[in-house]
Amino acid sequence: MTRRAIGVGLTLAVIVAALAAPWLAPHDPARADFAHGLRPPGTPGHPLGTDQLGRDLLARVLYGARLALFIGICTVAATAVVGGLLGLVTGFVERWPSAVIMRLADVQLSFPFILLAMTINVIVGLGLRNIILSLSAAGWVVYARVVRGEVLSVKQRDFVHAAAALGAGRARLLFRHVLPNVAPTIIVVASLQFSQFIVAEAAISFLGFGVQPPTPAWGSMLAESRDFLYVAWWLAAFPGAALALTALGVNLLGDSLRDSFDPKLRV
């Protein structure tokens, strides 16, 4: 119970930070002020200090929350729709195209997720839109597999046979009868994937791909902080702590969702 409370609290805090960033931030996150660079936390007007260009760190961390949530939401939505649909259809129609799609999923799973997302990112090009595209292209497999597994068992149940006997068409069976029964699974996987996606995005941006500076993404802020680790620990500490707390909150929330919806998925 306390875990759920912490999860909900942290997640809400990040959402508020992201939505209210323009009002909460003391400065414009992009405004450089060379005269006041690398000020430590506690400097008047800059609660978390400033970076090498004199930009306000608090403002950048807050705007980073915006970006992280935006990327997480878009990626989870894209993979849930594409992977979910593929899982529904391949689970419901057991013909050869389904087998082909699932073999493709197997092959894709033989590449580490982050390596695949990074490689796709280099091929399609860097930037915000393409990092969402790359993460989605690398991440749909998990949905397709989990949803397919659920559909394979749900479609054997009596109410589906009953609906079929009453003359319901395939599309109706699939979307009116099967889908509502796998929907909790889709929601649970979404919450468990969310933090994986935002951490992966940060890691990819950290390595120099994905979202490019000067956009205030946590990953690229951490990348820039490496050059100043000896003189300005706060540049590495705060964006990373924000990322870790976001991942923690969403993970705890996901765990409690899973426990209430579907204890089977417990790993």
């Binding site: 033989s110 590449f111 580490p112 997720f113 490689t119 951490l222 990322l243 991942a247 705890l252 417990r266």
Partner: protein, 305 residues
């Protein structure tokens, strides 16, 4: 068992072949290779000549067969940056990554499995709660941030450990810890929950009833039954471990396959990228094959099936 082995081996070969084909698909998706190699002010005539020489005007199927043929001989082309065979570069860097990954796996097994067992046996005690907190944090803290913070504390402030590079055991400490944390957190959690299930089974009760000591009950009866899901997850997570190596090696300037891959991607050195990605997927597939074979050793029922 022999049929099972052969079927499993055939399946592995198929996945390796398909992942190779996927790699070829990636090459073609990277756009026109000629334009990637060439300076921007090149003449159209030269482009065409180069294209002809590389065989890029041939049908795609023929190009695929040619690529397959040379790849079977281990030839993935030449690195655009180092002017050396791409596969040679990859294989040179492989031992460093294997050393790092193996250290991380050993750390995980030495720490995570006992912690999971203790948490399950001493359920709802201080150890269990502390262990659970550690695993929840371990899964949330991004490895690359943990790496930066460790460097700040142990290299910048305390000056105990080098910030990166190779040489001695001290160079291996931080990278292997960073690589192991996420992995260890997952394994601890799973060990705990499967041990809890196993400890509730009747055969454990029987073993206790016939007067076996706690060590034998836990080690021989419960653990052996809890080990299969743990091993499965470990096999699947090795892929993430290899992915994690990409990041860890970059932070700690560890001269392994992961760092080579990142540099090759940054330099658009595609022959090296493809060789590296292919080798990674082969290692991953092989490890999962070994895991499957280990089931037979842990659970004799699998041998019959």
């Amino acid at each position: 068992m022999r049929v099972y082995l052969l079927a499993r081996l055939a399946q592995t070969l198929l996945v390796v072949f398909l992942s190779f084909t996927a790699v070829f698909g990636l090459v073609r998706l990277t756009g026109d290779p000629v334009l990637l190699f060439m300076p921007t002010d090149i003449q159209a005539k030269d482009v065409d000549e180069f294209r002809q020489r590389l065989g890029l005007n041939d049908p795609l199927a023929l190009q695929y067969l040619r690529f397959l043929g040379s790849a079977l001989r281990g030839d993935f082309g030449e690195s655009l940056r180092y002017k050396r065979p791409a596969m040679g570069l990859v294989l040179d860097r492989l031992p460093a990554t294997l050393l790092l990954a193996a250290t991380a796996v050993v750390l995980t097994l030495v720490l995570a499995v006992p912690l999971g067992i203790i948490s399950a046996v001493r359920r709802d005690t201080f150890v269990d709660h502390a262990g659970t907190l550690a695993t929840v944090l371990g899964q949330a803290v991004p490895g690359f941030w943990l790496g930066l913070m460790l460097i700040y504390v142990f290299s910048v402030q305390l000056r105990w450990l080098p910030t990166g590079g190779t040489g001695g055991v001290s160079n291996l400490v931080m990278p292997s810890i960073v690589l192991a944390v996420f992995f260890a957190a997952r394994i601890t959690r799973l060990t705990r929950s499967t041990m809890l299930d196993a400890l509730g089974e009747e055969f454990v009760l029987t073993a206790r009833a016939k007067g076996l000591g706690a060590g034998r009950v836990i080690g021989k009866h419960a653990l052996r039954n809890a080990a299969i899901p743990v091993l499965t997850l470990a096999g699947l997570e090795v892929g993430q471990l290899l992915g994690g190596a990409v990041i860890t090696e970059t932070i700690f300037a560890w001269p392994g396959l992961g760092r080579l891959t990142v540099q090759a991607l940054l330099n658009r050195d595609f022959p090296v990228v493809l060789a590296a990605v292919f080798v990674t997927s082969v290692i991953y597939t092989l490890i999962n094959l070994i895991v499957d074979l280990a089931y037979g050793w842990l659970d004799p029922r699998v041998r019959v099936a």
